[in-house]
Amino acid sequence: MTDLSPRSLWQDAWDALRLNRAAMAALWMLGILVAAVLILPLLLPWTYEQTDWDAIATAPSIASGHWFGTDSLGRDLLVRTLWGGRISLLVAFVATGVSLAIGITWGAIAGYVGGRLDQLMMRVVDILYALPFMFLVILLMVLFGRNIFLIFVAIGAINWLDMARIVRGQTLSLKNREFVEAARAGGVPASRIIRRHIVPNLLGVVVVYVTLTIPHVIIVESFLSFLGLGVQEPMTSWGALVNEGAQELETSWWMIVFPGVLLAATLYCFNFLGDGLRDALDPRDRSGT
């Protein structure tokens, strides 16, 4: 007997995802990573700004207790790498949230209302799309100082454009479907139709896009921190650590290798997971761009 009980899209997607070994491995790794950056700093005897005067710029060793070595100020690199991970991931999630909020609102309104407003809103997106945002963000950081709130907003503001386009496209195809028509005939106001009927149906595409936006945001934040425009000392992020490591390349290889590899591994995981989710949630496009 085959099971004929209804299955949701999410159930199907989860089953498909579970069969994708690379994506599942990535999911596990990310889970471990998040747990590690949250819990491990509490268990280690050092803080991210504490100097160990007996171990200035020492190589990694189990004996000294500095498993990742120390930097030129004698700070434990393991703790700093974990703290860098906290900051990088925090920025990634918050900035992605910002871009999600703006993108969904903008795209859903443009798509649902249509007509002149749609034309106008999408033209704005076109124009913004052509701007070299990275340079404007750098300009912004230079002018208004380096606070973490500005990083969230600035990075989030770059990434909502793609989101808006994707959401608008989906909304256009959704808004003429029967259930939306039924809601409209029943006198439900447009704002409520968008919230209750359009947006929930967009979530599949949005989830895939979010997973692929997070690594992008991590790169942008690291890029800014690498240039010295991100978070401020003694607080750190992966980009800032890679920058410090790049300057001490010839003397302290561990300063670049550990944060660099961890950063790259995280980006790998998000990309694999994103590809897996796309295959699971969007069966039309399996060609893999």
Partner: protein
């Protein structure tokens, strides 16, 4: 075609204006002026400086003056390097940035298309998996991580290549910067080419060509490659933007005397005019390049011209 070109031009011009206006007004809105020094200047000296740099005029007039200067290729004086104008600094860095960026673009397109085509022709076999795994690495490892790691391995460890410097453009000095700058773009172009080629190879006219007994090589080179390259072509605009952005860190890491280095130093020293000059210059480059790509795309693919 003329109509299409004009239409594209009409999107490009507002983009440029928005860019310049954004940069200009952001700078004026920033706290602290470029001449804030530790020492209190005499009011008359300060007034004289403000007058010399036209900072005493109303904002719209300053903006008009800046725009007028831009049209003549004048980005104003640098606040940090007092004896130079921003234009002189950009011109000084341009050959280096152009050499590295241009070579990276060339490498990215050639290697990316070749790798993507190879993968598509051997879909789901070893070569395909190898190319796709390499592409995933290119996408996942940012150039500012890849570059120091490669320097550590090839320059510090094995001593095969110099760790930095420009060396008057000798290939040993260019190899690593060009490679690290190109890698992410190679990866994107390879993935795009693969997906596009797989789709093209499934289309009926390719089946016809096969049925006629044409060699696979001829089919790929003569019939499949051109339509495959259309999505790659439209990616060249974003690729330029990514290369210019990436060149900033690459120049910093390898100590190349290009525009990006001035930009970073200007950013850290709050040299407003220099930073803005580079933002506007690169912005104009990107917008112009996007426009050219669009026009060429329109020439290659008549469907695009007639849709809008």
């Amino acid at each position: 075609m003329l109509r299409f070109t004009l239409q594209r031009l009409l999107t490009g011009i507002p983009t440029l204006l928005v860019l310049i206006a954004l940069a200009f007004f952001l700078i004026r809105a920033a706290p602290g002026g470029p001449f804030d020094t530790e020492r209190q200047l005499a009011p008359e000296i300060e007034a004289a400086i403000r007058k010399a740099y036209h900072l005493d005029e109303p904002l719209p007039q300053q903006f008009a003056r800046y725009l007028g200067g831009l049209v003549r290729g004048d980005f104003g004086p640098s606040f940090q390097y007092r004896e130079y104008t921003v234009t002189e600094l950009i011109v000084a860095g341009l050959p280096v940035s152009m050499t590295v960026g241009g070579l990276a673009m060339l490498v990215a397109v050639l290697v990316g298309v070749a790798a993507g085509t190879t993968a598509a022709l051997r879909q789901n076999r070893m070569a395909d998996h190898a190319v796709m795994a390499a592409a995933m690495t290119g996408i996942s490892v940012p150039s500012f991580v890849m570059a120091p790691l490669l320097i550590l391995l090839l320059a510090v460890g094995l001593r095969w290549l110099p760790a930095g410097g420009y060396g008057d453009g000798h290939w040993r000095y260019l190899l690593l910067p060009v490679l690290t700058l190109a890698l992410p773009q190679i990866a994107y172009i390879a993935r795009l080419t693969r997906a596009s080629m797989i789709e093209v190879l499934r289309s009926p006219y390719i089946r016809t060509a096969r049925a006629q007994g044409l060699a696979l090589r001829t089919i790929v080179l003569r019939h499949a490659l051109k339509p495959t390259l259309l999505p790659v072509m439209s990616y060249l605009g974003p690729a330029t933007a990514a290369l210019l952005t990436g060149s900033v860190v690459i120049e910093q890491i390898f100590g190349l005397p290009g525009i990006g280095r001035f930009f970073v130093n200007g950013a850290l020293n709050r040299d407003y005019t220099l930073v803005m000059g580079v933002v506007v210059f690169y912005g104009v480059l990107i917008v112009v390049f996007n426009f050219l790509v669009d026009v060429v795309y329109g020439l290659l693919d008549p469907r695009i011209r007639h849709r809008t």
